[in-house]
């Protein structure tokens, strides 16, 4: 028994450099976010005069923490409205492309029509197009149609941009379902619509979840597309735009910036931690997004 312990000890010791490297790297990666979190719950005067690491001199002195900063940014700085806007943008901009991509993927995988393979290839090829290619013509069209600064305009834009990845991902998954299952349902009397809703959708949930997590994070964290199509209208601006504006207007008010940044991060972090498995899958398949 002591022998066994001794061997374990020696392997542990011989691995010291590995442990050390991992600890250093993990700390390095965590420190920035930790600093942000701590600063966001310190009173403004202290954030602006001393470094956030000073709280560790008395970590359990709870008087040095307060949620005041959050109250300020949410109300006075308009982050509350921005949070609502972000939700209003991100949820439909995730649901709509899922629905459209799933129907298209089903047709591409299991319905017979001429040119099916070519169509799929063409859609996948669209993964190449950088979004920048589309801004100027679309912005002009939006101007004519009065879509600039509307949620609907942004939903449709995110849907269009998300579709190639969504169709690619879902078609591959739906196409790999056993042919027998789909034929069994057809023989059992299901119409294409019933096959889709009763069989394809429930069975494709893993792929749908992957794409959902991926698209949600992408839309939630997007700044560029929102800036282009929403312009400067504050009533519809999502968190990313509002926070960017805050950086511009209150660049030195770190107590507000840190709290604001943390608010933008909470939801994606929760989604991410809860559905990490699906997100990784989406990443593996979606790492070629344009």
């Amino acid at each position: 028994m002591p022998n066994f312990l001794a061997t374990r000890l020696t392997t542990w010791v011989s691995q010291t450099p590995i442990h050390l490297a991992l600890v250093v790297l993990s700390t390095l990666w965590t420190l920035p976010s930790l600093g942000l979190l701590i600063s966001s719950i310190r009173p403004p005067e202290e954030v602006l005069t001393t470094g956030w690491w000073t709280v560790f001199q008395h970590p359990f002195d709870f008087t040095q923490y307060s949620l005041e900063n959050y109250r300020t940014v949410l109300s006075a700085e308009g982050l509350g409205q921005a949070l609502l806007n972000s939700l209003t943008i991100a949820i439909p901009a995730t649901v709509i492309p899922i629905a459209i991509a799933a129907f298209a993927a089903y047709a591409l995988a299991w319905m017979e029509f001429p040119g099916r393979q070519w169509l799929f290839l063409a859609i996948v090829a669209l993964l190449v197009v950088p979004l920048q290619m589309t801004f100027i013509p679309l912005l002009r069209a939006y101007g004519h149609l009065g879509l600039t600064g509307t949620f609907a305009g942004l939903w449709l834009a995110h849907t269009g941009y998300g579709l190639p990845l969504g169709i690619y991902l879902l078609r591959n998954y739906i196409g790999s379902l056993p042919r027998d299952l789909i034929e069994a349902a057809a023989v059992d009397g299901a119409t294409p619509w019933q096959i889709f809703t009763r069989l394809i959708v429930p069975l494709s949930m893993p792929a749908i979840a992957s794409f959902a997590v991926f698209q949600f994070l992408w839309v939630w964290n997007d700044l560029l597309v929102a800036l282009v199509y929403l312009g400067g209208t504050p009533t519809v601006a999502p968190l990313t735009i509002t926070l960017t504006n805050l950086v511009g207007s209150r660049g030195q008010d770190w107590h507000l910036l840190t709290a604001g940044a943390f608010i933008t991060m909470t939801l994606p972090l929760l989604v991410f931690l809860a559905l990490q498995r699906y997100f990784v899958r989406g990443l593996l398949a979606g790492s070629i997004k344009g």
Binding site: P178, D180, L181, E183, A184, A185, A186, V187, D188, G189, A190, T191, Q194, R198, L199, P202, L203
Partner: protein, 372 residues
């Protein structure tokens, strides 16, 4: 009601002709088995009938309806797939209720019908399980049950037993035969296992390379195969074939090959005249070659000497493999008491009345050609 008719049905996949000009009528209530080697077009035939593939040419009828243009869901058929195709996200109950629900039946009636079908297949205790919680045999029963709950005009089954082990397969054979008797519906069954075909079918349709070779009752198929393919395919071990010529001396008809020759009975080979002096192929079933010491009484036999190259003692019989000096191996199924030993030269007796003759070019049975 549910008679099924194929009229000159062909199916082409690109360059592959999967089914060639099939014409076949299946009577109401019949148990018809399609059998043939892998890739011969059995599954294709079922899928055409089910409406899962469009036919290339020809007409399909179920009952009095021409169904070429009906989609699968409107053909009133149920199908059991080789993989069972149970819906993995639904319980056994939901699997069975699915098609009834789609028909728009009420909850009460669905429940009643599912219960009745489950009773028939002894599945009452498994109704709440998901397919992945079932054994292979149970899955197979659920798949069959899902088909019978619909009470369709025609049942289609594509190798439903091929994923079971030998013992379960035996039980399931009996089970399906029983169901067919109870339900009285038309059942079309695909297999490549000739034991299944012979034991279950009221008629058997033999397919090869997309062409229908022969349709008949199991006994007729065994007794009078219409060509060399059917003769070789039905029966195990397979029929032995020897190439030789047909000659007539005095009042006897002779088959002469390199290593052996047999006298034949003219009455069992109608139509032989055209082949006199011509090459023919002679077919002898292993069970028509006996150990010379144990010949059943009343048989007309001709002696045969062969060197024994292998022996399989099965308990109730012995399969002997022998060579006749022409580099081929022939199989014989002899009495279990046989004392033949490996390496010996044994003395056998061939039942000459049971010999089949085939045209070497067309491979069609000479007896089946009839008088020209």
């Amino acid at each position: 009601m549910a008679q099924v008719r194929f009229e000159s049905v062909s199916k082409r996949y690109g360059d592959v002709l999967a089914l060639h000009d099939l014409t076949l009528a299946i009577a109401d209530g019949e148990f018809l088995v399609f059998v043939g080697p892998s890739g011969c077009g059995k599954t294709t035939t079922l899928r055409l009938l089910a409406g899962l593939e469009p036919v290339t040419t020809g007409h399909l009828y179920i009952g009095d309806r021409r169904v070429n243009d009906l989609s699968a869901k409107d053909r009133d058929i149920a199908m059991v797939f080789q993989s069972y195709a149970l819906y993995p996200h639904m319980s056994v109950y939901e699997n069975m209720a699915f098609s009834l629900e789609l028909q728009g039946l009420g909850k009460g009636e669905i429940q009643q019908r599912v219960q009745r079908a489950a009773q028939q297949m002894e599945l009452e205790d498994l109704l709440q399980r998901k397919p992945k919680e079932l054994s292979g045999g149970q899955r197979q029963r659920v798949a069959v049950c899902r088909a019978i709950v619909r009470n369709p005009a025609v049942f289609l089954m594509d190798e439903p037993l091929s994923n079971l082990d030998a013992q379960l397969r035996g039980q399931a054979r009996v089970e399906i035969s029983r169901l067919h008797r109870e339900l009285g519906s038309t059942l079309i069954y695909v297999t490549h296992d000739q034991v299944e075909a012979m034991t279950m079918g009221t008629r058997i349709a033999v397919l090869n390379q997309g062409r229908l070779q022969q349709v008949d009752t199991p006994q007729a198929l065994y007794r009078a195969p219409s060509n060399k393919f059917v003769a070789g395919f039905i029966g195990s071990p397979a029929m032995n074939f020897l190439a030789g010529v047909l000659v007539e001396t005095d009042d006897l008809l002779w088959f002469k090959a390199e290593a052996v020759s047999f006298p034949l009975d003219r009455t069992t080979c109608p139509g032989y005249q055209r082949y006199l002096g011509q090459p023919v192929i002679c077919g002898i079933r292993p069970e028509d070659i006996h150990d010379a010491h144990y010949v059943p009484t009343g048989l007309v036999t001709s002696p045969l000497q062969g060197k024994i190259s292998a022996l399989e003692r099965m308990g109730n019989e012995v399969i002997v493999y022998l060579t006749l000096g022409d580099r081929q191996t022939y199989a014989a199924r002899v009495d279990r008491r046989s004392a033949l030993a490996l390496g010996e030269t044994g003395l056998f007796a061939v039942n000459t009345r049971a010999i089949h003759l085939f045209d070497p070019d067309t491979e069609i049975a000479i007896a089946a050609q009839g008088a020209p």
